[in-house]
Structures are given as C-alpha cells and as structure tokens.
Amino acid sequence: MGFPGNDADIAIAIQVAKGTPSVVSSQRLRLVSGGMAGSKAVSDVEETSAGRLRETSFVGSASGGGSPAFTVRPVSIGLLLYLAMGAKAVVGVADPWTHTFTLASALPWCTVWRRLATGLFERFSDCKLNSLTLRSEAGGLLIAEASFMSLTPAHKTAAEAPASFEAAATTFVHADGQGALLYEGASAAEIRRASVAINNNLAMQQGDAISGFDLVEQVQDITAESEHTIQDFNLYRRWMYGAAAPADNAGPSRDVLELGGSGIDFKWTRPGTPERSIRMQAPRVQVQQPSGHDPNASGAPIVETRTHKVYKPAAGSGLTAIVLNSQASYVAS
C-alpha cells in the first residue's frame, strides 16, 4: 500500500522569537509543487587508501528547507509576503483590512510543518523565507513559490493540529490584473506574463553544532519580469540607444535605463466585495535587458521579455506589497 501523493500540505506560523518554535500554525496551504524536507550534507572522507573505493563518509551539517509553490489566496499570501519582506502594518476597522508590507533589515522567524499523507510529519522551526516569487501568466493562476531555510528540523509523531485552509475558490488569475498591471504608470494590456521575485540571499551560519545557529540576511535582490506581445520596440531602443526614436547611426547609450512613472505597479483584484487584492509596487526599477524578439517562421507575434531589478529609492521601501483581505492581523503564535 502506498501513499497518495496529493494528500500533502504545509502549515506555517510566525515565531515569537528565534529558538521558540510556534506552538500552533496560523495558515495551512495546499501545494502546487515542491515541498519541505530535511537535508544532510554528506561528504566523503577523502584520504589515501589501499583500494579505489572510499573508506567512508561523514555528515557535515543538517538543516531543513524546500521550495513549495502555492496557489495565491488572499490571507495566506499576506503571511508569505510578511515573511519575505519583514515589516507589516495594518489599517481598517472591518473586512477588508489593508495590510502593507515593506522591506526590513531583519526577517521574521517562522515554523513550517510538513505533512505527507499519513506517513510523515515534520516541523521545521527557526525558519526564514529565503525567496518568494509571485507570477501569473495569461490564462493561468497567480502562483507563489516560496523557498524556506530552517535551522531546526524535528520529527513529529502526528500531524500539526491544523489551521483550516482558505476557501478553495479564492484564487487569483492573471486576468484579475486586467487594467492594473501598470508599467511606468500606464496600463499594459499586452502583458502576458508578470512576475516579481524577492531573494533575501540568506546564509546559514554554522558553528560548533551539526545545525546552523543563524540565518543571515545578505544583500537583497528584487527582480521583476514581464513578457509583452510588443506593440513597438521603443523600450529596446531606449535601453540600447537612450531614446525611443534615436537618430540615424546613433550609438549605444552608456546610461542605465530606469523606468519612469511609478516603475512597476502590479495589482490583482478578485471580482466581488469586500475587496480581495494583491498589489506589488516598486517605484525605482532599472531595466536589465529587453530580450526575446525572436523571428518566427510561422508568423507568431514578436514577444519581448523584460527583466528588471529594483534599486533603493530616495525614501521609503524599495518594494511595497498591499494586500486587502479578511484577516485583521498576522501575529506570532
């Protein structure tokens, strides 16, 4: 008898402090792909020997982690954004509550529970969110892929007393961004794919134990990518030659192209009331490369993939996420 692979989930909670695993989960999420697992770094003992086979190996470190992907839903995405960005604020007197997440220097510690059918239960505490990517594509769902790192895996003999799942029919689709996927402040109807990725570049610090003792936030990389069925080549010309309509024989521009207007401002709103929405705003964005432009022998339209990177603005947060949902607050447990 095997275990059905679809019977699996992840539960998450914010920790009160490092070293204090959460006692109860606050969100429980179904998985689109990926998951959590323990890991051990096993290396050969490399030394001279009489034969061609190594004599043995050793365990250098043990940790936990994984990159589960979830269907974005209004409440759980707020928790993921807080874990990825580090600062939260909420206003409102009733549903919908407005949560604003901004970038902080230190990230919250969290606990993640893993359940694989009725066969395997684990708790990964002293966990931080290394990276979070939100992406949606024409005709598809808005998906969040989260990459966790944990210092302290622990076996559990039973599943985490579960927080309930969010209602299944509260997903977002790419079309929920209609008219609100703003590029340089203007609606870009031709955007066929949009994504924002936060990478905290965590580094596990190992000392005198087999497990690490800290996860350090290194320099942050925030990138955004969009794919456009382009209506003109202006962005490429601006990026390469410094102007949307450069002069004949104009040479390459030595300036970095920085988006004007409000930079990148993507918002997905589910139909209906009270409002359920997710908005990602990056005011200072530089274009790394507009690429693609591949000719197609069958006449398929030319597509441009635009990669961007977020830089520090003069004031405020480089990235702001605003979520409207039914949850009054995200608290540690």
């Binding site: 402090a17 206003v91 901004t102």
Partner: protein, 99 residues
Amino acid sequence: MADFEPRRAEPGQHFGYTTREGRQREFRADAKGLVTPRSAEDVAILDGMSLPVARTEAKAPAKTKRPAASRATRSATPATSEPVEDTKGPGHPDAGGNG
C-alpha cells in the same frame, strides 16, 4: 536625547517587524494616528512605510505672519544652512527696518 519624532499614521494602525535579536515587535498608532518610535529600528520601519514626521504638520502654521521682533531675533542667530521660509527682500515693508 533618545527621543524620536512621532510619525503620522492611521488611527490605531498596527505595525510589526522582527528585531535584530530575532524577537517580534508590535506597536500601534494612537487614536489620533500618532505613532512614536522607541528605537532606531522602529524609525527604519516607519520610514520604510513612508510615514511623515508628525512635527511637519505642526510647523505648517509658521507660514503665518510673525511679528517683526521675532524675526529680528531669529536673524540675529548665526547663519545656518536651514533656509528661512518667509524671508522678505530688503525693500519689503515687513523687512524689519532695512528698507
């Protein structure tokens, strides 16, 4: 002085982040929407939210006309890099005996 300038937020607005020591810190704006940071970390969080310093609103009425005497007192202080918003030209009737 370890005091930090209060910031203007929404009444009752709730803030949270993790301190460098790994502890959760939560605090709220008061009923008037004022939130007073208690540490440099609090300040960084509030600045990240682009919340204005509440003092700037208190300063706004300073644009109203002040008595010449008070301006004279101010002009007697050593020059600083801070511009005086309502400085009048020498020929202005309010210029304080220089016209």
